[in-house]
């Protein structure tokens, strides 16, 4: 490496490190402070917990006073079921739209891409009315339906791009082999889409897990609240229980990180190498 290149690489890394600090800093701060006593949180917010300031009071309070485990499992159910449905229907729709030409297929693709541009929150009132008249108010099903609708357009869009990159000969070979269309999709196309599916999964999960808006308007009882909504009860108008808020937030971050780590292993490109020369 010449000196110039080294300087370049150094400055690039400097920028990347700065960005990472900026992104990770607040999260680190939250997690760090969740293990401290209230006085220490305000006294020295940037200091890591030490022997004198360490305390699990926040976590104890959260587990004692709130239905945190219910919230947690609600969030998990909603996120995972939505993700599964978005991926399944997204991949199937993308396959249908790219592989088969049928009457109205272009119009349908266009219609679905509108969903990417129009934020689903614009329809909040209509969604609320719909859910109420369908008797789904204050259920997790309502949330799942909304999130599937929210995630589908983007996943169809991304997966279509990837499906187009799968060599056409491969599907033709499978057809000559007598593989039924549905098995071609699940056993030939889907395995090759793994990196794309992992990408879409991450993009789908994060906004759902973090969403506050739809749980707020669609759920009203403790049994259907999600983590993000549950944390709000520690934020009072007059007093805020910072220990509990930080503890609950730290716990809310954890699953997203875990899922991301699991899926990022799947983000291996080059799986198709060797299929065609």
């Amino acid at each position: 490496m010449s000196g110039k290149q080294r300087a370049r690489s150094f400055s690039v890394h400097l920028i990347l490190i700065a960005y990472s600090l900026l992104a990770v800093g607040p999260i680190l701060l939250v997690v760090m402070n969740s293990f401290k006593m209230r006085s220490a949180i305000f006294g020295a917010p940037l200091a890591p917990p030490d022997a004198t300031t360490f305390s699990l009071i926040g976590y104890q309070k959260v587990f004692r006073t709130a239905h945190i485990l219910t919230y947690y499992s609600n969030s998990l159910i909603v996120t995972l079921v939505s993700m599964a449905l978005v991926l399944l229907f997204g991949a199937m729709a993308a396959w249908a739209l790219t592989e088969y030409r049928f009457r109205g297929s272009t119009a349908l693709a266009l219609f679905l891409s509108i969903g990417i541009m129009v934020p689903i929150r614009l329809g909040s009132v209509a969604i609320l009315n719909m859910m109420r008249s369908a008797g789904l108010n204050d259920t997790l099903t309502a949330l799942i339906l909304v999130y599937v609708a929210q995630g589908l357009p983007m996943s169809i869009f991304i997966l279509s791009e990837f499906i187009q990159q799968i060599p056409k000969d491969l599907r033709d070979a499978a057809r000559c082999d007598g593989v039924p269309e549905i098995r071609i999709f699940f056993e030939v196309v889907a395995p090759l889409l793994r990196p794309a599916i992992a990408t879409v999964a991450v993009f789908t999960i994060v906004p759902i897990w973090n969403d506050l808006w739809f749980p707020l308007i669609l759920t009203s009882s403790d049994t259907t609240h999600t983590v993000t909504l549950g944390v709000q009860q520690f934020l009072g108008q007059y007093i805020t229980d910072w220990n509990s808020v930080l503890a609950a937030l730290s716990m809310a971050i954890l699953p997203v990180v875990v899922i991301y780590v699991i899926l990022s292993r799947q983000l291996i490109a080059g799986l198709t190498s060797g299929a065609v020369k």
């Binding site: 060599p167 000969d169 491969l170 033709d172 070979a173 499978a174 057809r175 000559c176 082999d177 007598g178 593989v179 039924p180 098995r183 056993e187 030939v188 395995p191 090759l192 799986l271 198709t272 190498s273 060797g274 299929a275 065609v276 020369k277």
Partner: protein, 363 residues
């Protein structure tokens, strides 16, 4: 084992006609090679036989059965693709058995067929490897193996060797010929390579712009091309063409003359005075010592040495180039003036519409 009959087959994409009234009869066990310039519709024809593309008109019969409405798997065909199209996430064994699951072949039978194909194609050691860990030639053999285990009535090959290097191409070509001898199945094979076509084919189908120009045994196409297109397409380097005119006709004997070559007599009863002709002579049939009716003179401009022979590019009197193959160690030198002669049987004559004029010299 099956014959294949194609009748009045048409294919259109929107307004463009890709295949135009194709008629072809392929016997049981025959090895038929489709050749033609790029974009002439060879792959399209193959894909229509396979059932991957629908026809715009016409019928396809396989083993006496009309298959127009049948799915690829129900037609009793197997296709080998240029890109191999192996399933990248399955190992070699799985690649070969995957399709058999769906056609109701019991597991023990599957194993038997894979073992046999692997033995035939020398794939035994590779059965547990993934396609990405195979060389190009090995991948190609797996692709052929995947076709063999289906035990199809008709094999379809679309330029199977074009991704291999020259040496491997020759050895795989020999293997395919052996395979055909062993399996005795009907094969339709698309290629760009003349040598492949000449060596493998029982019959060659020459296509041009969606039409069949000629169907025939390799040597028939070589020695008696039906028209100008086939004459120019079969053979390498391509046949030399000379424009000519009938000057005189006397008792069935026509005197043919043109720029650049010595006029000669031709016994062709169908010709009349004033007919415009094209005379074709292959480079390998032009010789220095030989004697014959056709003689052309030129100045050597360029010599390509291939080893056992050389190609000499000569400029003739009307300032056009023609090619002659010169055998032996004695290569001509540029600037040299030479007169080259071809025997009566090696002179091809085509009329103004490009069709072969039959001459009595051929008999």
């Amino acid at each position: 084992m099956a014959n294949l009959r194609i009748e009045h087959l048409n294919k259109r994409y929107g307004a463009t006609k890709v295949l135009n009234d194709i008629n072809l009869n392929i016997e049981d066990g025959e090895f038929v090679v489709l050749v033609g310039p790029s974009g002439c519709g060879k792959s399209t024809l193959l894909r229509m036989i396979a059932g991957l593309d629908g026809a715009s008109g016409g019928d396809i019969h396989i083993a006496g059965k009309l298959v127009n409405a049948l799915a690829p798997a129900e037609r009793g065909i197997a296709m080998v693709f240029q890109s191999y199209a192996l399933y990248p996430h399955m190992n070699v064994r799985k690649n070969m058995t995957f399709g058999l699951k769906f056609t109701g072949v019991p597991p023990t039978e599957r194993e038997r067929r894979v073992a046999e194909a692997a033995r035939m194609l020398r794939l035994e050691e590779l059965l547990d490897r993934y396609p990405r860990d195979l060389s190009g030639g090995q991948r190609q053999r797996v692709a052929i193996g995947r076709a063999i285990v289906r035990e199809p009535a008709v094999f379809l090959f679309d330029e199977p060797l074009s991704n291999l290097d020259a040496a491997l191409r020759v050895s795989t070509r020999v293997e395919i010929a052996n395979l055909h001898r062993m399996l005795k199945s009907t094969i339709v094979y698309v290629t760009h390579d003349q040598v492949e076509a000449m060596t493998l084919a029982d019959r060659i189908v020459v296509m041009n712009r969606g039409c069949i120009e000629q169907v025939g045994r390799p040597l028939d196409l070589y020695y008696a091309p039906a028209n100008l297109f086939v004459a120019g397409f079969i053979g390498s380097p391509a046949m030399n063409f000379f424009e000519a005119k009938v000057e005189r006709v006397e008792s069935g004997c026509a005197r043919v003359a043109g720029a650049g070559f010595r006029s000669f007599e031709l016994s062709a009863p169908s010709l009349e005075v004033g007919d415009l002709l094209t005379v074709g002579v292959r480079p390998e049939h032009l010789g220095r010592g030989a004697d014959g009716p056709f003689a052309v003179e030129g100045v050597v401009e360029l010599v390509e040495r291939l080893g056992e022979s050389s190609f000499a590019y000569l400029r003739r009197a009307d300032n056009r180039l023609f090619v002659a193959e010169v055998r032996g160690r004695q290569t001509p030198t540029p600037g040299e003036r030479a007169t080259l002669v071809a025997g009566a049987r090696d002179v091809h004559v085509f009329d103004a519409s490009g069709l072969r004029v039959s001459t009595q010299n051929e008999a």
